[in-house]
């Protein structure tokens, strides 16, 4: 028997979205949200229709990075996403200032389903999904409903994050999700023209043949990262 109407609604919505880019790490604090926002801006710059879904239910950051705020609204076609720099954005952070975002299990999967089923993304070339740390309900929920459209952009810092991020890479590999880029964030600083690695060798070697982009520590305005990503945008396509 047919049960949850969202399952059908999600299928219908996703028919209008060509690709779903998972920006993830498995690890917290490596700069996933910064990269997700910069990547969305880069894809928009190239001329694509882009949506950005902040799937970090407990610690949404995309709304802060993009200065997006306001109560939810909607019409017959669904919940209206916020629009910033031409990107359609949905982030719980935009309307829940200060609230401890408690959620787990069935309710958390429900929230992800709500956002996929009811947000009116319209026709998109790319839906960039900013994943939370770990490989929990949000990651599984998005991956489950977007099968066949997925592509991974992995974010790490050098050093201690690497073994944790390797687990995330193994998860993507196991699910058959291709990885287009590995971003090595906070890789080095420039000190009087000398390149100094802070967290270990920035040339981290993952067992995955993808393009690795080391980024400088500090002063990395989102626009600068966007410009760096623009040179690699063909790999995401």
């Amino acid at each position: 028997m047919l049960n949850d109407v969202r399952d059908y609604a999600i299928k219908k919505r996703l028919q209008n979205i060509s690709k779903v880019i998972l920006v993830g790490s498995g690890k917290g604090g490596v700069g996933k949200s910064t990269i997700a926002v910069a990547l969305s801006l880069a894809l928009k710059d190239v001329g694509y229709e882009v949506g950005l879904l902040d799937a970090d239910i407990h610690g949404p950051t995309d709304a802060i990075l993009l200065s997006v705020k306001g109560q939810l609204s909607g019409d017959r076609d669904g919940i209206s996403p916020y629009v910033k720099y031409g990107i359609k954005v949905m982030s719980i952070g935009a309307f829940s200032e200060g609230e401890p975002l408690v959620s787990y299990g069935k309710a958390k999967i429900g929230l992800i389903k709500d956002m996929l089923a009811y947000v009116n993304w319209g026709k998109l070339d790319y839906l960039v999904v900013d994943l939370p740390p770990g490989i929990g309900d949000e990651v599984l929920g998005i991956a489950r409903y977007s099968r066949g459209k997925l592509n991974g952009v992995v974010v790490t810092t050098p050093g201690i994050s690497v073994p944790v991020v390797q687990r995330f890479i193994n998860f993507l590999k196991g699910e058959g999700i291709p990885i287009s880029l590995v971003i090595i964030n906070m890789a080095y600083i420039n000190c009087d023209g000398k390149k100094i690695s802070l967290f270990g060798n920035e040339d981290v070697l993952f067992e995955y043949p993808s393009v690795k982009i080391p980024l400088i520590v500090g002063g990395n305005k989102i626009n600068e990262i966007k410009n760096t990503l623009l040179s690699f945008i063909n790999y995401v396509r």
Partner: protein, 142 residues
């Protein structure tokens, strides 16, 4: 208001289901409306009937069954209804906003961020029932 898009999703689900199961004419559809959706049932039903015109559900009786919300606290085991906390939650969300549309109306499961146990004030609780819209049954002739 979110009633139109919920009706659209329901209509999509029903029509797809009819295609998949070769249903030519449905006689009755029973839909569970989770109280947490906070929808206006009449508006929702009118939209739904409109959207189902020309489909196998055109002449079907559409029956809505309200599914009450029950919360259960994992700390003190208290079990409560939406009515017990609704006023406080809406007051907390809306503050001075005129024409306030609560996010719970759009994303029912976000309630966990706004509701606390009326007895012990914990946010560690479960939403046992009444959170979404489900198709409970479809009667049809083949």
């Amino acid at each position: 208001m979110h009633e139109g898009s919920l009706a659209y999703s329901t209509a999509t689900a029903l029509i797809e289901y009819a295609k998949e199961h070769n249903i030519k004419r449905a006689t009755k559809v029973e839909i569970g409306i989770g109280e947490l959706t906070m929808i206006d049932e009449e508006i929702y039903k009118n939209w739904l009937i409109e959207m189902l015109k020309g489909s196998p559900y055109d002449s079907a009786e559409i029956r809505l069954v309200k599914e009450p919300v029950r919360f259960k606290c994992n700390i003190c085991n208290y079990n409560w209804s939406l009515d017990e906390v609704k006023e406080k939650v809406i007051e907390n969300i809306c503050k001075e906003i005129v024409d306030c549309d609560t996010p719970i109306h759009y994303l029912p499961e976000i309630a966990q961020a706004y509701v606390t146990c009326p007895k012990c004030n914990s946010r560690d609780f479960e939403i046992i029932s009444g959170e979404g819209i489900i198709i409970r049954s479809i009667n049809y002739v083949e």
